[in-house]
């Protein structure tokens, strides 16, 4: 197995794990963690294709991953703030409890 295939395999498995977590768990924070795992799987794909692609000196993959990390940081901050705010209102982070728009 060459290195590119190995990286893509790891990325595919990681994405499936993230999807499983987002679908399976009831806790909103774990769902956010799972979304971060899926984002990381995408980043791994970008870097693998950058490294083994035809023009690595263009640094396109590195740029995309850097911006993606910045966006993930902003997303995690806003998502966790939303979860803390929702917890203050509903006194729960269980997604089965949060089923009304007007509390």
């Amino acid at each position: 197995m060459d290195a590119l295939t190995a990286c893509l395999t790891i990325s595919a498995i990681l994405f499936a794990i993230g999807l499983a977590g987002a679908l399976l768990r009831r806790n909103a924070i774990i769902v956010l963690i799972s979304i971060e795992l899926m984002l990381n799987a995408g980043n791994l794909n970008f870097l693998a294709f950058w490294r083994f692609g035809p023009h690595p000196e263009a640094l396109s993959g590195v740029m995309v991953v850097l911006f993606s990390i910045a966006i993930a940081g902003a997303e995690a901050a806003v998502g966790l703030a939303l979860i803390v705010n929702v917890y203050r209102h509903f006194k729960s982070t269980d997604l089965t409890v949060l089923d009304s728009l007007k509390g």
Binding site: L14, P56, L80
Partner: protein
């Protein structure tokens, strides 16, 4: 120097760390354990980035993900501590259906990976890793607009997060 990464012991152990951390992060009952396994998984991914020769991205991953986002997750878990461990129930709806969907997705991704001929299409012999000076030049020349937009977006998002998380004042 035509160094081309081959799958070696380092890569296999990093991959095991990543996959094991990921599975533990979504399946453990204790939320703090979940957050710590999440950090382990991110460390494994940062190691794979370093192994691929992207030093700057690898260390940025460690700083941003392992240093900031994991700690933020732990804070959020501690702030919502009264919620308990999901009242003893971890799974949303029927776990079997969701797990089947995830396994099917993994199967489709891996099958398309096997069916494609990407290995023959890309045979680059690139030796140098991404130099930080070149990354900085790219950021300041061809990607400067994206950089400015990211800076604005980060400021707006963090201000919004602070506003959201601030306790409501009685008027």
């Amino acid at each position: 120097m035509n160094w081309r990464p081959e799958v070696d012991v380092a890569f296999v152990s990093l991959a095991a760390l990543t996959i094991g951390g990921g599975i533990a992060a979504i399946s453990l009952r204790n939320l703090i354990h979940c957050a710590l396994c999440f950090a382990t998984c991110l460390l494994g991914i940062a190691g794979i980035f370093l192994w691929l020769g992207a030093q700057f991205v690898g260390f940025a991953q460690i700083l941003v993900y392992v240093g900031a986002i994991s700690i933020l997750v732990v804070f959020a878990i501690l702030l919502t501590r009264g919620a308990g461990n999901e009242n003893g129930q971890r799974w949303f709806g029927s776990p079997l259906v969701s797990a089947t969907i995830a396994v099917l997705l993994a199967g489709v991704l891996l099958a398309s990976l096997v069916a494609s001929n990407h290995a023959k299409a890309t045979a680059a012999q690139y030796s140098a890793s991404a130099p930080v000076a070149a990354i900085g030049q790219k950021l300041m020349t061809s990607h400067v607009l994206a950089l400015e937009i990211i800076a604005l977006m980060l400021t707006a998002a963090l201000l919004g997060a602070v506003t959201l998380a601030m306790p409501e004042r009685k008027r």
